[in-house]
């Protein structure tokens, strides 16, 4: 390839890549058009967060009162080789499944979330929570927390 032709290839490829990033943002927000990626990382500042979370009522026959919050240095996370961030995505899927009363999705969600318990018996609640990140960091206070499901792992999905 000649130098002049290669220059055109370079400029076209960079332009196409930038265009693909825009395309990926609007048409593949869940990154399901691999290897397209928008590079839109941490652009949005969360002012009020609406999310799903779990609180653990009991684990391996130990009852927790108050229940253990998932996002408060949960000791269970050190035993499983996964980042909390991956569980958050799965807890979100489980929460949406409960809201939609989709039994298949609940089953799938439970299978992934309950890897946290490594086969030990546990009871946990699924919540929809609304909070201001800064206020929650400083005071542990939610704006709103609504329970949407209770799960006993001994009851198979």
């Amino acid at each position: 390839m000649s130098y002049v032709a290669l220059k055109k290839v370079v400029l076209v490829s960079l332009t196409l890549y930038a265009a693909s990033a825009w395309y990926a943002h609007f048409f593949a927000p869940n990154e399901n058009l691999y290897p397209l990626f928008s590079w839109n990382l941490f652009s949005y500042i969360p002012n009020e967060v609406q999310t799903y979370t779990i609180t653990i009522l009991s684990y391996n026959h130990t009852i927790y009162n108050p229940p253990l919050a998932f996002d408060k240095k949960l000791f269970l996370l050190s035993s499983v080789n996964r980042s909390p961030n991956e569980f958050i995505w799965e807890i979100g899927e489980l929460g949406r499944a409960f809201e939609a009363q989709d039994t298949d999705a609940i089953k799938r969600g439970r299978t992934l979330v309950e890897t946290l318990f490594r086969g030990m018996p546990a009871r946990y609640e699924v919540h929809h929570a609304t909070y201001d990140p800064l206020t929650y960091w400083k005071t542990d206070a939610f704006k709103e927390m609504r329970m949407i499901g209770v799960v006993d792992t001994s009851v198979k999905p």
Binding site: E31, Y34, S43, P46, T115, P133, W137
Partner: protein, 299 residues
């Protein structure tokens, strides 16, 4: 030099990957949904563990080939194939792995390096082509940062217009960190400090956004490349220290491509850098022009 360093770092990276993706440390197998580059695993009826083992070994082999025969396009293509499989594997457990994108696309670009640059006395055309391919790889990396910066700019404007705390606001970074830290529950040494001293974070975040938006500008102002390289490396250190996020593959990639960049002038003064900074440089130039005009009139 740049090319040799690049493939040498990849060899080291393959060892790190080998150790970090052992059978015992694989993500939960239930979450494995293989992306399309791993089609061969299903075709051969391999288990998830077997696929991971194959990718690890293939990557190690590919990087050895790359470091020994970097001057042959098919060896460089082999390396690209190895990185691509690594990236696909790392991205097949629910979340796409972003850090490996840089190595993946630059290794593909490097396949087009002219092999004849390493043979005898290369022709002028060969040298120009070689430098153009290096420039291309650098431009790709800087483009990714610019894209990230532009999104921050656009979303920041959108949130500001909506009356929300945005990336331009004094509390912006503090909000971001406060939201993120509970999600990782790992080490973020200075995260709590920034939350309680948000104005320090504000200044840092504005600088980061400026450097990201104008990263691609360094491709036409090579005197800025080293400064941008250091800042972007610091940015990645910062994301770990403030938010516990590791984007480690980008650090050696930045150092390989920009510390050994053939485009950086031999001698670069701080004055030259200042006058070539985007926006800042133009402002300085404007002020200097006005001062000179004022002095001329004064005479």
């Amino acid at each position: 030099m740049l090319v040799r360093v690049y493939y040498a770092i990849l060899l080291y990276s393959s060892f790190i990957f080998l150790t970090e993706w052992s059978t015992a440390t694989l993500p939960p197998l239930d979450s494995f949904v293989p992306l399309w580059p791993l089609w061969w695993g299903h075709a051969l009826g391999l288990s998830t563990v077997a696929v991971a083992q194959c990718v690890r070994i293939f990557f190690v082999g590919a990087t050895f080939v790359g470091v020994l025969w970097y001057d042959r396009w098919y060896a460089r293509l082999f390396v690209f194939a190895g990185i691509w499989q690594v990236h696909a594997l790392a991205s097949s457990f629910g979340i796409v792995s972003h850090p490996w994108y840089g190595w993946m696309f630059t290794s593909l670009i490097f396949v087009l390096l002219p092999d004849s640059i390493w043979r005898n006395e290369p022709a002028h055309e060969t040298r120009r082509t070689f430098l153009l391919v290096i420039w291309w790889a650098q431009a790709y990396i800087m483009l990714t940062y610019t894209l990230s910066g532009i999104w921050k700019l656009l979303v920041g404007l959108q949130q500001t217009a909506a009356g929300e705390v945005s990336g331009f606001a004094p509390m912006g970074l503090a909000y971001q960190i406060a939201d993120w830290l509970p999600k990782i529950q790992g080490e973020a040494i200075f995260g709590p400090f920034i939350i309680t001293h948000p104005y320090i974070g504000w200044a840092m975040y504005l600088v980061v956004q400026y450097m990201q938006i104008f990263a691609i500008y360094t491709m036409i102002r090579p005197s800025l490349q080293k400064l941008w390289c250091i800042e972007l490396v610091l940015f990645h250190f910062g994301t770990f220290l403030l938010m516990g996020i590791t984007f480690s593959p980008f650090i050696p990639l930045l150092l390989a491509l920009f510390f050994f960049s053939p485009f950086i002038p031999e001698a670069v003064s701080w004055r030259q850098i200042a006058f070539e900074l985007p926006i800042v440089g133009q402002l300085l130039q404007f002020v200097r022009t006005k001062l000179l005009a004022h002095r001329t009139i004064g005479r």
